[in-house]
């Protein structure tokens, strides 16, 4: 009863409670925003300041401590706020080199880790696809929520009655019945179903810009694609389907003679190289361009099969190179068309053609293409001139 009559004490009690609530709010905000990429953590410091300062006003005995603390919090919050305003990058450790013989021995998490590495590495998926919940895919669909979405897609009429340039992966393969098969089909036959709005320009979504990833130049094995699919599930906290189911799904859409083997092809496994050579240098030019991965992004005039990509500029380099070398944004040191091409292959970001994206072109071609390949590529491309007939590749 005395407590209720003692007004100053009651008032202090209220203030104390309010201060405590502010502190709790601040702590909660700290907890919630601690690990995310949200930059709201300094807000907690603001709340702490308010609480301590307020307590300092009404609790005279601890006034100096409270005000001192409040001031220090302001200073710390200012520094932290400034640091949060600057660009944020996470420095990832380099990947451990490891070769996986048998994916069934891996835990789902390990398999998913392998899949993640392939997605950003060998698979080059991240050139076009995005994976964050809030990102918008410019060139290709966002992969977030794919596992759940795929089940819905296979039920769609537009999926079942498709009208694309290639409606089945191969004769008799049939179409996907569930999410696992949908993913396999999308990888093996991108043209079989095109996500609305993501078709090749001018084809009214009848044709996909994506290459079949089990074929050259990417040549992912079935197990590698299984790892990628596993990652799609695990990264969203879902249980991945059994490995065998996923393998069967891929076998449904990839005929036996098209399945790449881990140790087959141009890759010399066991040599320990992280960057196996993509070409031997002796291929006919169209094959060379394809294996060297140029055709994924560039139109190369005169080369069959290299006439419909649009992620990189069309390669009329004899016309464009002299202009670009004089451009203000050009930071390289080339003095001839040939030097310019070589430089652009080795270090693509020295000059990025306007309207194309920086960091899109991989910068490791210097180690994945041999001298003969580079020589032949440069020799051909340097002769391409706008408005003129391309040279005869069969003689080069």
């Amino acid at each position: 009863m005395d407590l209720l009559k003692n007004k100053p004490l009651l008032f202090k009690l209220w203030i104390g409670l309010l201060g405590a609530i502010l502190v709790l709010l601040a702590l909660n905000n700290y907890r919630v925003n601690f690990s995310g990429n949200s930059r709201l953590l300094p807000v907690s410091l603001g709340l702490f300041t308010a609480a301590t300062f307020m307590l300092g006003i009404y609790f005279q005995k601890v006034r100096v401590v409270m005000h001192g603390a409040a001031f220090m919090i302001v200073v710390a919050a200012a520094f932290a706020g400034f640091a949060n305003w600057l660009p944020q990058t996470i420095g990832e450790p380099p990947a451990l080199e490891e070769s996986v013989e048998d994916i069934t021995s891996l835990s789902p998490q390990e398999l998913a880790d392998l899949g993640e590495k392939l997605t950003f590495g060998k698979g080059k998926c991240s050139l076009c696809h995005v994976f964050g919940s809030s990102e918008h895919g410019e060139r290709a669909p966002n992969m977030f929520g794919l596992a759940a979405r795929a089940n819905e897609i296979v039920q769609l009429d537009s999926y079942k009655n498709r009208d694309t340039i290639q409606t089945v992966a191969y004769d008799g393969s049939g179409i996907a019945e569930n999410a696992v098969e949908y993913m396999a089909e999308s990888h093996a036959c991108p043209n079989c179903y095109v996500s609305p709005g993501y078709g090749k320009r001018g084809t009214n979504d009848r044709e996909s810009p994506m290459p079949a990833i089990h074929k050259p130049p990417l040549s992912l094995t079935i197990d590698e694609m299984v790892a990628i699919d596993t990652w799609m599930y695990v990264r969203e906290g879902l249980d991945a389907p059994p490995i065998d189911d996923m393998r069967l799904a891929y076998e449904k859409f990839i005929p036996e003679d098209e399945r790449p083997q881990a140790s087959a092809g141009g890759e010399e496994a066991g040599s320990g190289g992280e960057n196996p050579l993509l070409t031997t240098g002796n291929e006919p030019l169209p094959d060379l361009f394809e294996k060297a991965q140029c055709t994924i992004c560039h139109i190369i005039p005169g080369i069959p099969g290299a006439d419909d990509a649009d992620f990189g500029p069309e390669l009329y380099v004899k016309t464009s190179a002299p202009k670009r070398m004089k451009d203000k944004g050009y930071t390289g040191a080339a003095s001839s068309v040939q030097e310019y091409i070589l430089e652009s292959i080795m270090d693509p970001n020295l000059y990025v053609v306007p309207d194309f994206d920086e960091d899109l072109m991989p910068d490791d071609f210097g180690t994945t293409l041999n001298a003969k390949t580079l020589f032949r590529i440069i020799n051909y491309i340097s002769q391409l001139e706008e408005g003129k007939t391309p040279p005869d590749y069969e003689k080069m």
């Binding site: 401590v65 001031f71 710390a76 520094f79 600057l86 944020q88 990058t89 990832e92």
Partner: protein
């Protein structure tokens, strides 16, 4: 030191300086001798053991020879290779929280308290010494009390440091067992020495503190001071040993490429970055310790009940601030030396720091440095209020503020800005056509040198503001000072502009004459000023305590900034190892091997800073609470023993 606080010293001068030389000698001697000797002993012991094993064993064990990863010497392998960890529960136990962050907090708190308790005895020693050689009795008493006050603060902190050290070791053993085992296998001899030294330091500290009253006269006082010397020798060696573990992780030595220990612990301790870090940390600790004591004084000033207390704590705050700023000036040079050694050790490491992943952290450091200098100037200007006659110089403050702010802005201008591609296109490149020109090293070097020179000018004005020079050449002395500073400003700005007209390899050299221009102002300016003030007519004593409350907040600001900067630079030093536990020897395969964003790091630093200060303010508060109680109890003549004010 003393000269700067009051008049000159006369008696006992020679004796005093001899004593100082002896003290410094005693400080350095064990460092020079003890560690290599110890190492030798351990080496001999190891060899004896190896020999003994050879005799006892039936077969002669095949001795593996390893080559030191840094020194290139060959040695007998005496330890297992660095363990190859993997991401599992045995190597990296999980506690639903990022283990690295827990270690981060534990290390930083231990380091804050440790730096504080290492720094305070150093200036307690200096102040006690000044008190002993001061002729003026009341002044001598004042210094002695001040020294005692300082050590009183650090004694609670010492206990906390020890507890935090225990917590840190425990955290390492729990969260990083494999790594911890590897480190102990190499450093266990040094760790034994560490424990012994710690015990010795504790003993000395307690005798030193509790013996203060009993040993205040004659020869005993000199014995007491000698104890302070030993206290600091122990403390410094402790710090250097702990440093060696941290620098071993950055620049390992004494092991071969597989991380196998080669039997000479001195080589592991004396790794490439050990001494640069030792010097940098010693200076940094002094700045930090000065900052904390100043903050303590500011706190006591603000909660003072009468003018006498206010005067004492104002003075204490000023002395502590002076120590902090005095050690702050050489700190960048020690930093430069450390950075040069980092580049010499691994160029890649230097690039990661200055031009790579961690480069933005140095932008934050630049902001902190700018803020530090602005606040120092502000404190000095506020301090002029203590003195009558300061009105004469008030009019210059607005110009100095303007200069400081302009330079601060140039100093802050980022070289490249964060922009969306569209913005980038509109601006025509990463650098702004106009502002971009100020975001380069040439302009920034000029700006920071002008900031420091202006601070020196503030300090000179502060020194003379309650004095009117009486020397016959006073008029020309003033002109000379004007011309010196004017010339320095012209020269610094000229060099900053000239930097734009010459190629990079010549330009980098310009920073040296720029810094020397600044230092010329410091030394020549202070010298002229001191000469002019000889026999000057005082306009009144320094009225300690007559200073604004804002000035005390400036001290808080400085103390917080020092703490924050220490957290930041420590983070930079540690994270430059990237994904290595021990650089290039033992890889970090934990899930936390990545480098956090700078925002996250800054949040962590702020957390550590505030955690430290909140606990420390609590300690301060406990201190005042205790004194009050004692007074009350004395009045009431209560027989129940009062709770100790401190240990």
């Amino acid at each position: 030191m003393k000269r700067l606080f009051e008049g000159g010293m006369r008696n006992k001068q020679l004796l005093s300086w001899v004593a100082v030389v002896v003290i410094v000698g005693a400080l350095l001697l064990p460092l020079v001798i003890s560690i290599p000797l110890l190492a030798q002993e351990f080496e001999e012991a190891a060899l004896e053991q190896a020999a003994a094993e050879e005799i006892v064993g039936e077969e002669v064990p095949v001795q593996q020879i390893g080559r030191d990863v840094h020194y290139g010497d060959e040695g007998i392998v005496q330890g297992p290779p660095a363990p190859v960890t993997s991401d599992n529960e045995n190597d990296y136990p999980r506690y639903n929280f990022e283990s690295r962050v827990i270690i981060w907090v534990a290390t930083q708190q231990h380091l804050y308290y440790g730096s504080f308790v290492l720094a305070v005895p150093i200036f307690v020693m200096i102040i006690e010494f000044i008190g002993m050689v001061t002729k003026d009795r009341s002044m001598a008493k004042k210094y002695d009390t001040l020294a005692y006050d300082f050590i009183k603060i650090s004694i609670v902190a010492y206990s906390i440091t020890a507890i935090l050290g225990g917590v840190l070791v425990f955290t390492f053993m729990i969260l990083y067992p494999t790594f911890w085992t590897y480190m102990t296998k190499i450093f266990h001899p040094a760790m034994h020495v560490y424990v012994l030294l710690f015990l010795a330091e504790s003993g000395t500290l307690y005798i030193y503190y509790y013996g203060w009253e009993a040993m205040k006269e004659g020869l005993l006082k000199w014995v007491h001071l000698t104890m302070a010397v030993f206290l600091n020798v122990f403390g410094t060696v402790l710090m250097m040993l702990a440093n060696s573990w941290a620098t071993f992780m950055m620049s390992p030595a004494g092991v071969d490429a597989e991380g196998q220990y080669l039997g000479n612990v001195w080589l592991a301790v004396h790794n490439h970055l050990w001494n640069p870090v030792n010097i940098h940390r010693l200076l940094g600790n002094m700045v930090f310790g000065g900052g904390i004591v100043a903050a303590y004084a500011a706190y006591r000033f603000l909660s003072a009940k009468n003018d006498e207390e206010r005067a004492h704590y104002d003075w204490m705050g000023y002395v502590a601030m002076f120590i902090a700023v005095a050690f702050l000036i050489p700190l960048p040079f020690a930093g430069y030396y450390l950075m040069r050694e980092v580049y010499a050790y691994r160029q890649q490491m230097g690039i990661t720091l200055m031009g790579g992943l961690l480069a933005w952290l140095f932008i934050i450091q630049a902001v902190l440095i700018g803020a530090l200098f602005l606040t120092t100037n502000y404190y000095l200007w506020q301090g002029m209020e203590r003195m009558r006659g300061a009105e004469r110089y008030q009019k210059y403050i607005k110009y100095m503020t303007f200069v400081l702010i302009v330079c601060f802005l140039v100093w802050l201008t980022p070289h490249t800005m964060v922009m969306t591609p569209t913005e980038l296109k509109e601006m025509g490149g990463q650098q702004h056509p106009v502002v971009g020109n100020y975001g380069v090293m040439s302009a920034k070097n000029g700006a920071v040198n002008i900031i420091i020179t202006t601070t020196i000018l503030s300090f000179l004005l502060y020194q003379r503001c309650n004095k009117i020079p009486t020397v016959s050449w006073a008029r020309y002395g003033n002109i000379a000072l004007w011309m010196l500073f004017g010339g320095a400003f012209v020269n610094i700005i000229w060099l900053a502009i000239y930097g734009y007209y010459i190629p990079a390899n010549v330009r980098v050299g310009l920073s040296v004459p720029q810094v020397v221009s600044t230092l010329s102002c410091l030394f020549i300016g202070t010298a002229i000023n001191l000469l002019m003030m000889r026999g000057a007519k005082p306009t009144g004593p320094v009225e300690w305590g007559k200073i604004s409350v804002r000035s005390q907040y400036a001290i808080f600001m400085l103390a917080t900034s020092f703490t924050w900067m220490m957290g930041l630079m420590g983070y930079i030093r540690s994270s430059v190892r990237l994904h290595w536990h021990v650089n290039e020897v033992m890889r970090d395969n934990s899930p936390w091997a990545f480098t956090h964003t700078i925002g996250f790091a800054a949040n962590m630093i702020s957390f550590n800073v505030l955690f430290f200060w909140v606990t420390l303010l609590f300690v301060f508060w406990l201190g005042t609470l205790g004194t009050k109680k004692v007074v009350v109890e004395k009045v009431r003549v209560v027989t129940v023993p009062a709770p100790a004010t401190s240990h």
